[in-house]
Each structure stands twice: as C-alpha cells, then as structure tokens.
C-alpha cells in the first residue's frame, strides 16, 4: 500500500524525550564499540578486509546461478534438503506442511530478518501452531506484539521498566525491573520451550556453496539451542546469502561482529551442514534449507543497484545515520530501517510505494563510510530519487490520459455533442492530419499531456461522424 510521509508519527518520536534518549544512547554505544575494534592500531587490514568482502559479494552475485546449484548439491550430499520458494507464502506452505507431516506442535525460532520480512511467524500462528522467538530482544518484541526496532537490537527502544511490564502482563510473573533477573525469567521460560520444541527455525548469516553449510552468528546461545535440541532444523535464507567458500568466512566473520556490536567474533558461530551424522548424540535428524527469492532476482537484474544485495545486516549504517538516530526504527515503511532500508524498500516494495523515502536523507555519507561491504548507499539514493521522479512523471502523464479518456467516453455517449465537436475538430485539425491520421495537434492543444500522448501514438483524424454519414446515406436511399 502506498503510504505518505508519516509526518505525525515522526513528530511523536521526536517529541518523546525518553525514546530519543534510548535511540541516541544505544546507537552511540554501538558506534563507539565498533570504532574501538576497527581502529588501525587494532585492525590494520580493516580496509583490505572490506575490499575483499565487497569483491567476494560482487563475484558471488555475478555467478549466483552456479553457486546456488553448487550449494544445493552440497546440502543434498550431506543428507539435507533444499527447498526453493518464490515468496513468503511458499515458505510458509512448506513449513506448515512439514509441521503437519511430522506432528509438530511447538516451533522455536532464532532471530532472523528474512523470516520477519515474510511474516513467517504470523503465518504459522494463523494456522494455530505455537511459534516462540528465542532471542531475548526478539522475545520481548513478540510479547509486545511489535516489530523489530533495529536489525541487530530489536528491542533497542524498550526500557527495563517497559520490559518488566511486558513480562508481568504476558507471562504472569511478578514485576521485575533488573535486566539480569529479567534475563533469568526469559531463560527459564524459553529453556522449557527448547526442550519440548519439535522444529527449530533459523535464518542464515551466510550460506557456504562449497560446503552446503548454514552459518549462524549470535551471542546468547539461542541459535545453537534452536539447531541442537529439536529434531528438525529449517533454515530460511535469501538467495543473496551465498558465499563461495568456507575460507571466505575468515573475512566476513571478522567484519560482521565488529561492525554490528564491536566484537572481533560473536560469542557463538555455528557452521552447520546437514543433519546429525552416524553416532552423534544430538543435533537435528532432518535438515532443510529454504532458499527465498522474494524479489531478489529482480534486484539482481540491475547491474548497478544489485550491490544492495551485498548487505550482511550488520546494522552499522543504522547506528551511524543521523536520520535513524532521531526518528528510530518504526518510522520506516518496511522491516528494514535506516540507510539500508531506504535503498532496499523502493527496490523490493516498488519505487512509488513510499516515494518520499530516498529523499529523507541528507546524503551525509556516514553509512557508506562504515558499511563493511562498501555499498554505495548515498549514490544509490540519488539514483533512486531520479528513478522515482521519472516514474512519477510518467504516472502523472497517465493521470492526464485517464482523465482524457473519461472525457472522451462522456462525449461519445452524447451523440449531438460528439457531432458538433468532431466537426469543429475536423476543421481545426486540417493542417496536422496526414492521410487520415492525426500526428500533430493544432495551436494551443499541441502542448503538455496531449502532445506527449501523441509522441507515441497517432489518432485517426476527426472527420464527419458516423451519424452524419448515416443521415446522408439514408437520405440518399430515400431519394
């Protein structure tokens, strides 16, 4: 649905001092953490790593067909299955069918933007399955029935008091405002879920073509539990998540943790390939990877803007964006907020869905400066602006066209008026008609929308009307 610039909503965010403080200090802290671990004294080859990461992403997308097939073959070779999904409903259909076939009741999920993007949890809940988010921030957001505020820190906007309120209301536990104790509460509730869940659903930070591996990074251990405890593991990932070799992880893992939270490596990195093997005590018995297109192949077709798909969802561009830092994550039209949202939304959701979006930027360039895969966000914003203006001009023209046709049909249903007008037009058009086709309009009419319309079309030159001809003919017959 086309939305206008959410002026009122943004005013409310700006006028909420508590929220302003929460966004500003959280993003500020994340910026500072990142700065400390990418500084030249601690990571001298940071710029080379970025360059290599960008080169690998560029190469992978240029050869994506081959890498997708290699990945599929590798997953199969290790006893897993690959499912291809054009869109969100196809992902949900697969998971629903799998859940029914395997008599599953409870599904646990670890944080994944891709499943947020397609509303997977909601689709499963609508069919009466219990689906539980297990990342602490994501769990808070699920209980609050909101959408994530930030790619990396979904509950960034919630204070401990609000979390205490949400927990006591939704879990029926005594009110608790100390984050450490709140975390204990979540641990206890979710531990039970992990141990009884039938299916674990995850996203993927990377898909490795040469190993058929799904790579997950996290700090809490919920992704490890999601992929170790239930008997079935389903990973849902966009087709752009491919990287050629496991060895490329040396570059990407170093950049991802540092850019996201300032960690040289996140606490847990899981490199998972296939179900548990002979003799293993745990791990899933069934392993599925759902490859989602969801508009990605369309974005891929644009050689220049395809770099949008390099994104490794580190969130650094959000933290460094002066606009995000003021308006927060809920004033963007789609699940991806901040600078990456501004270039992804128009390409995935349609150029004129939220035409204001790429314009709401000062083009300060901070995002491109920190992006670990060097996406040229400001330049793409300019390009999208130009495209939007062009599209709107074309659509504006269409509006004139529609108006013209309405007028035309109104005239057509009024025979006497039509006759009078066509007589007049026939006289006026004299010089512009070319063997019965009107290619040019006379005088003042030869301008604006009508002129543009005729640039691509010819109109039969108005002559005597059918009624006039008919009258003449019947008159002749009577004679």
């Amino acid at each position: 649905m086309m939305t206008g610039y959410p002026r009122e909503q943004i005013r409310r965010t700006l006028a909420d001092p508590r929220l302003q403080e929460a966004i500003y200090s959280a993003t500020g802290r994340l910026m500072e953490h990142r700065r400390q671990v990418v500084a030249p004294e601690v990571l001298p080859d940071y710029q080379e790593l970025r360059e290599q990461a960008r080169r690998i992403k560029e190469h992978t997308l240029e050869n994506l067909d081959a890498y997708l097939e290699q990945f599929e073959a590798q997953v199969r070779a290790r006893g897993g299955e690959v499912i291809w999904a054009k869109d969100g409903p196809e992902v949900a259909d697969f998971v629903l069918d799998l859940a029914r076939r395997s008599n599953a009741r409870l599904l646990v999920k670890s944080k994944s933007m891709t499943t947020e993007e397609i509303g997977l949890r909601e689709r499963l809940e609508a069919q009466h399955f219990e689906v539980v988010e297990t990342d602490l921030g994501e769990y808070i957001i699920q209980l609050a029935q909101e959408r994530p505020y930030h790619i990396v820190a979904p509950a960034l906007h919630k204070t401990r008091e609000e979390v205490g309120e949400i927990f006591s209301q939704r879990l029926g536990v005594p009110r608790e405002n100390v984050p450490e104790r709140q975390t204990r509460i979540a641990r206890t509730v979710l531990r039970q879920k992990f141990l009884t869940a039938d299916i674990g659903i995850t996203g993927a930070n990377f898909l490795v073509a040469d190993s058929g591996a799904v790579v997950l990074v996290e700090n809490e251990g919920n992704a490890r539990l999601t992929t170790s405890a239930p008997r079935i593991h389903v990973a849902v990932a966009g087709i752009e998540k491919l990287i050629p070799r496991a060895q490329d992880l040396a570059v990407f893992l170093k950049l991802l943790g540092r850019s996201a939270t300032g960690q040289p490596l996140t606490v847990y990195t899981s490199i998972l390939s296939g179900p548990r093997r002979q003799g293993e005590w745990d791990g899933p018995e069934q392993f599925y990877v759902v490859l989602l297109d969801g508009g990605r192949s369309r974005v891929l077709a644009d050689r220049d803007k395809r770099q949008t798909l390099y994104c490794i969802r580190c969130g650094a561009c959000l933290n460094h964006c002066p606009v995000y830092r003021r308006i927060g994550g809920h004033n963007y039209p789609w699940i991806y907020s901040g600078p990456i949202g501004k270039i992804a939304s128009p390409q995935f959701q349609g150029l004129t869905e939220d035409p204001w979006l790429p314009f709401a930027s000062s083009l300060c360039g901070a995002c491109a400066e920190v992006c670990p895969v060097k996406i040229e966000i400001p330049r793409l914003l300019l390009e999208l602006r130009a495209e939007i203006v062009k599209t709107q001009a074309r659509e504006g023209q269409n509006r004139w066209e529609r108006l013209g046709f309405r007028l035309w049909s109104w005239v057509m249903t009024r025979p006497r008026l039509y006759e009078a007008l066509s007589l007049a037009a026939g006289l006026l058009a004299g010089e512009g008609s070319d063997q019965g086709w009107l290619r040019q309009l006379p005088g003042l009419l030869n301008a604006g929308p009508l002129r543009a319309w005729l640039d691509y079309r010819d109109l039969p030159a108005p002559g005597r009307s059918f009624r006039a001809l008919w009258r003449q003919r019947t008159a002749r017959v009577r004679e």
């Binding site: 240029e62 204070t159 641990r187 606490v267 490199i271």
Partner: protein, 218 residues
C-alpha cells in the same frame, strides 16, 4: 521443483547467463596466519578470553588439569563428553562426573540438570579467545550448551593463532562434521538497555584449561 526452475531462470535472465554455465574463479581466499610463538599465542588467548569474562588456565600436565577441574566442580553434578583428551586428563574418574548414557534422551536430561558441562576442544583461537569444537560421537553439542558452567580442556598444541589458521587447516569444515561451533566467551546479551548480562541461554561461565605438551613443558 517448479519454483526451483522459476527462480534459477530468473537469476540466469538477470545475469544474462545460459543454463549450465560454470562459475568464474572467485578472488583468491584471504587468509593471514601470523607467526606467533606458543608463548605469544597463550598470552593472547588468555587476555582475550579474560576480557570477555572467561577464565583461561594453563597447567603443566594432565594430572594438574584433573586437580583443577576437581577444584571447580567439588563433586557436584557434571556431564563430561567422551573426548579422548578428557580421558587422558582423568576427568571421568572425578566424583560427580557422568560420561555414559543409554540414549540421547538420557544425555539431554542429564545436561539439563547438571551444573557443569565438561568437553574437549579441537582447537582454540588465540586472537579472539575462542574454542573450536566439531560435533561428533565424542562431542555432543548440548554438553557445552545446557549447563550453566562450561569447562573445556585441550593440549596447548591445539592453540592456533586465529580463525585464518583454523580455516587453512580445515578448509571445508563440512567434510569433517555436521557442525563446527566456535565459542568465544560466556553466553551474553545486551538486549535490555544495552546492559551486559551473561548466561542467557548458554553457559554464563566458561573455563578453558590449556595443558602443556611434552615439548612445551619446562
């Protein structure tokens, strides 16, 4: 199957590729392995892990490792993996330590109750203070995950410089195991007001005991 062909076709059309085209050669992998001595690796590992709130201990022989673990567990309930190195260190003989289970369900129940999970580690990474563990019949995944305290033991010869060295030794982890897990410090979150809390879903406490080999023993 229909969606598979549909998506692959769209990708090929977007790229202007014909069916069956093979990928061009990727840019060479970038792996940098520094030449750190054993002592340097140990120093870096210990300081990285301690910075994360973990505990790194170096002992000169397996018997000392056994004594150290005994001092940590004090006979309380612990589940130990079937790792050969734990055998070498005599961990399975300690009071309260359980290694043998009839089936996966029993192992899982024990892990959910135990206060300590004791495992080996295939490698450790000096620059980040990480452990690298391959899931296998000897190393169940839940032992380093469910109990609130994780204790890991490994010989110092397995202490690598970092991720780059690990991936040059094991270029394709999938060939070796269904799961390679890197563990870098205790489980943590900062999801509520960016306040650091340890021990969310995984262990809030981690002890890594590095045991000298014959060559490094002084």
């Amino acid at each position: 199957m229909i969606s598979r062909d549909h998506i692959l076709n769209k990708v090929r059309t977007a790229l202007g590729h014909a069916v069956g085209r093979t990928a061009a050669a990727p840019p060479p992998a970038r792996l940098c392995v520094p030449a750190w001595t054993v002592e340097e690796r140990w120093q870096r590992f210990a300081s990285a892990l301690e910075k994360l709130g973990g505990n790194a201990v170096r002992v000169s022989e397996p018997a000392e490792a056994q004594r150290y673990v005994a001092g940590l567990t004090c006979g309380r309930a612990a589940v130990a993996s079937r790792s050969l190195f734990l055998e070498v260190c005599g961990i399975h003989q300690l009071a309260g330590v359980r290694r043998d289970f009839r089936d996966p369900g029993e192992l899982r129940a024990a892990c959910a109750e135990a206060e300590f999970g004791i495992t080996g580690a295939d490698y450790a990474l000096a620059d980040t203070g990480s452990l690298a563990v391959f899931a296998s019949p000897e190393e169940a995944r839940l032992i380093s995950l469910l109990p609130p305290v994780h204790i890991a033991l490994l010989p110092i010869s397995r202490l690598l410089t970092g991720l780059d060295e690990l991936l040059s030794l094991v270029p394709n982890p999938a060939e070796r195991s269904s799961a390679l897990i890197l563990i870098t410090g205790p489980s943590r979150t900062a999801d509520i007001e960016q306040i650091l809390v340890r021990g969310v879903h995984g262990p809030g406490e981690i002890h890594v005991i590095v045991v000298d080999d014959r060559e490094t023993r002084s």
